[in-house]
């Protein structure tokens, strides 16, 4: 006897993995913020930077320098804290929005444990100095492979869940999750393309200006599609849930989504303004960054106005407080970002603490507070027990808010102060007003200290959250919700072909092609383009009038079709990435070297550069003299594109906690560098005393005495040189013996020079290599 299937099915959501990701996010959040506070205090107190000052003596510990721990902080904050929080929110909300349990418990489990294993591996490798030397992309290549595998598992789990869903329509939050998964995969894979030289080391396939562009295409869009879009999706789900009101304007959310996805991907070059990046790319990044303000504020207003009518609950409800301030912080950061992307503003703010203030306004305010709101909302529901203490949650909010304000205000003042001082000229405009870099450092010392205090207050608040959640869930019974949902009758109907081979797409593509021919062509192409555009537009209008409903049906089907939607999202971001990156990869190098090309490093200098990268020197020192008068007056001739063309990875840097080093070569003697590495404050102590004497004055760089003890890994050099030759660096075809002989000869020369000045350094020490590397910075060959 044939039985028709039940119209409803019973589903039990997989909330176990949600709980796991949530608790992991809290744990790693405490870790990430603790390291953030530590590295912040390091910049004020050299005694804890690279060592501990005990019993009247500085004990050096190479694993705890700012250069090695700052990447640990950034990776922990982005991938461990926000990553786990994002996965918790995505898995929790997606199951409920699509009315289906996660497709695979097994994949969910691998996703969770795999991600935690990567985090632990990062926590071990980064302090050991195992780094690719690219910001937010420091992890060594085996971990890159692991991240890619786990991300693919996440994607399969997510899209499989969508394919099995019982709710046909894809809510806007799901769109944001799709955009996140697709774009992060694209960004991560491209920026992590590398050639390994050993199990623990690799070189990126891009170098010089190409690497700069790829790195900041990735870096900015990591902010966009890892720190923004998934949290926007979380906003569009949890804010309505928390205030029990629908989204203020769904139409606005549609515009918000597509505008964001299209525009964000172009904004990366704003990290490279006034550098050797081609000007057309700089203006592209600047223009699109300014355009980005509109959709970002559209989203902010949509989120805040969703809470309209529930503001009275703000007084008592900590969740609403966190969401309201979090969304406001998103708006502030997305106003400040475009502002900083204006070239003239960027000339002041780039390389200063203003950028740090901007970043942390976003991460502490938007990411941190949205996470807190989500955790406080989720915990009672996942553990079937009321929140332990609402008062404590409210107190967390206030101490966190004070922490954010102190942090951001301190960094704004610090950044603008440092920018103004570094750019200041005397009355006649012929010399720098503050020629000693240390004068600017001394001026901002109190502000850096207040920043550290602000960050510590924020950390205390987050620890209170951890305690509150701990007390809530201890002894509580976990809950996984079971619901009855209508069974979905029909599967996705619109495949790949249906999504793309249809009148709207065909007409749009033809109009774009003809319009380009019309505007950019001449003669026959111009006429063809003109008449083709007019004809196609008229035809589209007639076709629309005849069958308009079918066009809207295509769009309505798209909203219910995850494959087609995913393809369109991928196309949106891929177009932006390709248009930026392909021209730079294909650029005629000979015509763009500006008369200079980087001198190929000697084997010893190459070893020194890799130590420079491993120690994280690029976290404090830039190697890019901008086309700005104060930069040129302070550091020398502005940097040409050709002068860094063989740097794999590029070393332009993004911060000047210390001075730029692009023309450091030959500027100071070998013994100066030796003394500076052994005790920076003995060498760089000039400048006026700080406002608070106990803060000290002079360099805040850590000492590097271990570089004098540790030996150069000469055996690794043949593989490294061979890899770089594959990437296009014109190293001669040296044998291993020739490489070793060159290293020994050059190192001996440096050691003898030091010995003549009563400094004793083993020729095969790492410090010899780094001195050799620094002494060639700025050396180049003239080309016609």
């Amino acid at each position: 006897m044939h039985m028709s299937p039940s119209p409803t099915i019973s589903i039990t959501y997989n909330d176990r993995v949600v709980r796991q990701f949530m608790l992991a996010a809290i744990l790693w959040g405490v870790v990430a913020m603790t390291f953030g506070a530590i590295v912040a205090f390091m910049l004020n107190f050299w005694q804890i930077n690279g060592g501990i000052y005990l019993f009247g003596k500085q004990w050096s510990i190479e694993w705890i320098t700012f250069g090695r721990l700052r990447p640990l902080h950034t990776n922990a904050a982005i991938f461990a804290f926000v990553g786990n929080m994002m996965f918790a929110g995505i898995y929790h909300s997606t199951q409920r929005l699509v009315r289906a349990r996660l497709a695979s418990d097994w994949l969910s489990s691998i996703h969770f444990w795999g991600w935690q294993a990567i985090i632990v591996a990062a926590a071990i490798t980064l302090p050991l100095g195992l780094s690719r030397g690219k910001e937010y992309a420091e992890l060594i290549w085996p971990l890159n492979v692991a991240v890619t595998v786990i991300w693919v598992i996440f994607a399969i789990n997510f899209f499989w869940t969508l394919a099995r869903r019982n709710e046909p329509t894809l809510y806007v939050a799901i769109w944001f999750y799709i955009a996140t998964i697709i774009t992060v995969a694209l960004l991560y894979v491209v920026n992590h393309l590398s050639l390994p030289t050993s199990l623990l080391h690799s070189y990126p396939v891009f170098g010089g200006v190409q690497d700069a562009l790829v790195q900041w295409w990735y870096g900015h869009n990591a902010v966009a599609f890892f720190l923004t879009t998934p949290i926007l999706g979380i906003m569009y789900y949890y804010v309505p849930k928390a205030v029990n009101r629908p989204v203020y304007s769904y139409r606005l959310s549609v515009i918000h989504f597509w505008s964001l996805v299209f525009i964000y991907i172009w904004a990366g070059p704003h990290h490279l303004l006034n550098t050797a990046l081609p000007p057309w790319l700089q203006y592209l990044g600047m223009t699109f960054s300014l355009m980005l303000w509109a959709p970002s504020w559209g989203g902010m207003l949509n989120g805040l106005l969703t809470m309209k009518g529930a503001w009275d609950r703000m007084r008592e409800d900590p969740i609403m407080k966190f969401f309201a301030v979090g969304i406001t912080a998103y708006g502030m950061a997305t106003f400040e970002g475009p502002l900083l992307a204006i070239k003239s503003v960027n000339a002041l703010g780039h390389y200063t603490d203003w950028i740090i203030g901007h970043v942390h306004g976003g991460t502490l305010g938007w990411n941190g507070f949205m996470a807190a709101g989500m955790f406080y909302w989720l915990a009672p529901r996942l553990w079937n027990r009321p929140l332990y203490s609402r008062s404590l949650a409210n107190f967390h909010f206030w101490i966190g808010l004070v922490g954010i304000l102190l942090y951001v205000l301190a960094m704004w003042v610090s950044g603008i102060t440092q920018g103004l001082m570094l750019n200041a000229l005397n009355d006649s405009g012929t010399s720098l007003a503050y020629s000693n870099f240390l004068e600017t450092l001394n001026a901002i010392r109190p502000l850096m200290f207040f920043r550290a205090i602000g960050g510590t207050l924020y950390l205390i608040g987050f620890i209170l959250l951890a305690y509150n959640i701990y007390r809530t869930i201890t002894g509580a019974e976990t809950v996984s919700t079971t619901v009855e949902v209508p069974r979905r009758a029909e599967p996705d109907q619109q495949g790949f072909k249906g999504s793309l081979i249809n009148p709207p797409v065909i007409y749009t593509s033809l109009i774009i092609i003809f319009a380009c021919m019309w505007m950019l062509g001449g003669g026959f192409f111009l006429l063809t383009g003109l008449f083709g555009t007019i004809f196609t537009v008229l035809l589209a209008i007639l076709h629309f009038q005849a069958g308009g409903r079918r066009w809207s049906q295509w769009y309505e089907k798209l909203l219910a079709n995850s494959l087609g939607f995913t393809v369109l999202t991928f196309a949106s971001v891929a177009i932006g990435g390709a248009i930026q990156i392909i021209p730079t990869v294909m650029v005629n190098r000979a015509a763009n070297l500006e008369g200079r090309i980087q001198r190929v490093l000697t084997p010893l200098e190459l070893a020194g550069r890799d130590i420079y990268i491993a120690e994280g020197c690029y976290n404090c020192h830039s190697q890019m003299i901008r086309m700005l008068k104060p930069d040129v007056m302070r550091y020398g001739d502005y940097s040409r594109l050709g002068e860094s063309i063989y740097d794999y990875p590029f070393q332009w840097g993004s911060r000047r906690i210390g001075p730029d080093l692009a023309r450091e070569g030959g500027f100071r003697s070998n013994d100066w560098h030796f003394d500076h590495f052994m005790d920076p404050r003995a060498i760089s102590s000039a400048g006026s005393a700080a406002a608070l004497p106990w803060m000290g004055h002079g360099s805040n760089m850590p000492a590097y005495p271990w570089l004098a003890r540790k030996k150069i890994d000469v055996d690794a050099l043949p593989s490294k040189i061979s890899t770089l030759r594959t990437l296009g660096v014109p190293f001669p075809d040296w044998t291993e013996d020739e490489i070793r002989a060159q290293v020994e000869a050059q190192a001996l020369e440096i050691a003898r020079d030091l010995q003549s000045k009563d400094r004793f350094l083993e020729p095969n020490s790492q410090m010899t290599a780094v001195i050799a590397y620094l002494q060639q910075l700025g050396l180049n060959e003239e080309v016609r």
């Binding site: 409920r96 629908p246 597509w258 299209f262 050797a276 380009c516």
Partner: protein
């Protein structure tokens, strides 16, 4: 300041193409959003609130202050 990079001729197309693409896409989605039916928009906006078996419909009041702490297990 001397010569800088000489853009190749085809670079000039890129900014125009980029802006054109983005403008057309934006225009399309604005029109689509404006033409979206009110009841469709309303239904979509309420999706998070229309969950079957929403646990918020059960009684889980947030408490003003903590319950009396359980007896300490250690000291």
């Amino acid at each position: 300041m001397g010569s800088r990079i000489q853009p190749e001729e085809w670079h000039a197309l890129i900014q125009v193409l980029a802006f054109l693409l983005c403008f057309l896409a934006f225009l399309y989605f604005v029109i689509r959003a404006i033409l979206m039916k009110k009841d469709t928009a309303g239904k979509l906006a309420s999706m998070p609130l229309d969950e079957p078996g929403d646990p918020d419909k059960r009684t889980h009041p947030d408490k003003e202050d903590s319950e009396p702490a359980p007896p300490a297990r250690h000291g």
